[in-house]
């Protein structure tokens, strides 16, 4: 095994090591802790890029943990999709952490440990090739997210946190019911092996495995915040601290990722009772999610609530793309995914600066005092709003364009077009209203003493995230090509299966 052979595990255990180190360093001077935390997050970037590079040729890197062969041991599988998710996470995490370093990390305890372990959970979920292990990493990222969500405390935050925790506990229960049933029928947990076994399910077990697979979908739908399971999201995202809300931009994508990963394998083929299982569910629900999310954004009474609803809407767009199912549509979704992550994260960070700049009034949609440094803040808000609304020329528009184009060849063309275009307009109306209210409709009195001027350190992470959006726009060609290649890879699950199980066939046990 050469040195690169361990590449797939590194993005997972690296934050774990960092978390443990930070736990040991909990009494070390603050700059040391921050430095370690930041360095650890930054180190994820070259790892993710290396994975992008290693998977770019279409290969699946299979990593046998404990040197146990699949399907008996747990394997990590890095393909284009996984690498794409890891890169998105690494980029996002860097900027979210940078924003936290302005003092938010000191509003509660163990922020950095929780942050690192959150990344441990996320990266683990993106790389695992085992369904039960996916559950385990879901729980890690959830528990870390509980801690982060509640970081700093406060009435609304605690209430939102309680709702988030309870609903996710119910979701985890459902996950186990689903995994259990699948194991009870197919006798395996490895996703590739499950794909093989489930495809061969006899007819007398059809409804059973379908029920299990759909229950699993329910779990992923909850994480992804698909209608009607998104109600936890607006409050949770709107009331947590800004860097956490920014980091959470990736959380819903874990659900979306899981849907894509699991169902491209177990329902991706033409055979078996699961073929095309989600066709009837995903796209229609995604359309409704998009519509209701955007209506929520229109109805919002405060900026962060609005952004949270825009996250719901972005989930709708994303899952719509995945739900349409064609390679083009999935490619559109995968291109749109990092965009929506960066854009909503940036908007959360800007919203926080706005709330601080307006003093007691916070981010409520009411006429308030003029903000200090409003020009720069307004500029950032404008760009972030354009990005989130999916307006030209930024990548959100390009993603939407890809989606609409891809929808042309599907059975939901009219619905997709109507909803996507109409919600696009609603987004514009909603954000124009917010911007106009927050930045333009100011009254002369200022709220001296409570207003905090945004510093460069506060604005830079948001600007950085927006630069990522700009990068996705300028290099839309290569980015969308990679997304298309990843989508193509998902459309041919047999390669994944062969890569994972091939070695078992070769008899390389241990």
């Amino acid at each position: 095994m050469n040195g690169f052979a361990h590449l797939p595990i590194l993005p997972v255990v690296w934050p774990l090591f960092a978390g443990v180190l930070l736990l040991a360093l909990r009494r070390a001077p603050l700059p040391v802790q921050r430095g370690v935390s930041l360095a650890a997050v930054l180190a994820l970037l070259p790892l993710a890029l290396a994975l992008i590079d290693a998977t770019a040729d279409g290969s699946h890197l299979v990593y046998k943990l404990g040197n146990w062969v699949a399907p008996y041991g747990i394997v990590l599988v890095a393909d284009r999709l996984a690498a794409w998710m890891l890169l998105t996470t690494a980029l996002l995490a860097g900027f979210a952490l940078l924003y936290a370093l302005r003092g938010i990390d000191q509003e509660g305890r163990h922020f950095h440990v929780l942050f690192q372990l959150q990344l441990f959970g996320l990266n683990g979920a993106f790389l695992t090739g085992d369904l039960f292990n996916l559950f385990v990493f879901f729980e890690i990222l959830l528990l870390a997210s509980y801690g982060l969500l509640l970081h700093g405390g406060g009435r609304l935050r605690v209430k939102a946190g309680l709702h988030y925790v309870v609903i996710n506990l119910v979701g985890s229960t459902l996950f186990l019911f689903a995994v259990g049933t699948l194991y009870g029928v197919a006798g395996t947990l490895n996703m590739a092996d499950l794909a093989v076994k489930l495809a061969a399910t006899p007819a007398e077990n059809a409804a059973l495995v379908q029920a299990a697979a759909l229950l699993l979908f329910g779990v992923f739908a909850l994480k992804a915040a698909l209608l009607p399971l998104y109600l936890w999201l607006p409050a949770a995202y709107a009331h947590t601290s800004a860097p956490v809300a920014a980091l959470f931009a990736i959380m819903t994508k874990v659900g979306a990722y899981s849907i894509l990963r699991v169902y491209s394998l177990i329902a991706g083929g033409d055979a078996g009772p699961l073929a095309g299982l989600l066709d009837a569910w995903l796209a229609p629900l995604a359309l409704a999610t998009l519509a209701l999310g955007m209506l929520g954004a229109v109805a919002a009474t405060a900026l962060r609530q609005q952004v949270a609803y825009l996250v719901v809407a972005s989930v709708g767009s994303l899952l719509l793309a995945f739900g349409l199912g064609s390679a083009d549509a999935v490619a559109a979704g995968l291109y749109y995914l990092p965009h929506s992550v960066f854009a909503t994260a940036a908007l959360f960070l800007v919203a926080d600066s706005i709330a601080r700049g307006r003093g007691r009034l916070g981010d409520a949609f009411e006429s308030g005092p003029a903000m200090p440094n409003a020009r720069v803040l307004g500029g950032l808000f404008f760009v972030a709003a354009v990005a989130v609304a999916g307006l030209p020329p930024l990548s959100g528009f390009l993603g939407k364009f890809m989606l609409l184009q891809a929808a042309l060849d599907t059975r939901l063309t009219a619905w997709t077009w109507t909803v996507v275009l109409a919600t696009g307009l609603l987004g514009v109306i909603a954000l124009a209203r917010s911007g106009s209210l927050l930045f333009y409709k100011t009254h002369g009195r200022d709220d001296a003493g409570t207003q905090v001027a945004p510093t460069t350190a506060a604005l830079a992470p948001a600007a950085g995230l927006l630069l990522l959006v700009a990068g996705l726009t300028v290099w839309a060609g290569p980015a969308s090509d990679f997304a298309a290649a990843a989508a193509a890879q998902l459309q041919a699950p047999q390669h994944y299966i062969d890569a994972v199980l091939g070695e078992a066939a070769a008899g390389d046990a241990r």
Partner: protein, 112 residues
């Protein structure tokens, strides 16, 4: 026996669901605990029921039951323990922050 176990799982689920739908934190915690019992049992019996054949390798053993669901349930028990502990403390935190033990922080008469 299988029917009895299915019934037990069903009853635990039903009880858990009912309590999880209550409006105060304490019964919700109880409900989640019942649900975790239900799902742990469910996951466990996915290896089918077998008596007297624990998966401990020995010369005298007459056979072994499927060890994998047991390992999974062990993991699940530990995880749900951590989760339950967290939610219990969160219930206290909510009680402190919201002033009562309603899940939405509402006074009794505002119950939704």
């Amino acid at each position: 026996m299988e029917a009895l176990i299915a019934l037990v799982i069903g009853v635990l689920t039903a009880g858990g669901v009912f309590l999880a739908l209550r409006g105060q934190t304490f019964p919700v915690v109880l409900g989640l605990t019942l649900l975790s019992y239900a799902v742990n049992l469910f996951l466990f019996v996915m290896g089918r029921l077998a008596i007297g054949v624990p998966p401990v390798i020995s010369a005298a053993a007459e056979g072994y039951t499927d060890p994998l669901p047991q390992a999974l349930v062990l993991t699940a028990i530990v995880i749900s323990f951590g989760m339950t502990a967290f939610v219990i403390v969160l219930a206290l935190k909510a009680r402190a922050e919201l002033g009562n033990d309603h899940v939405d922080g509402l006074a009794h008469e505002e119950d939704r």
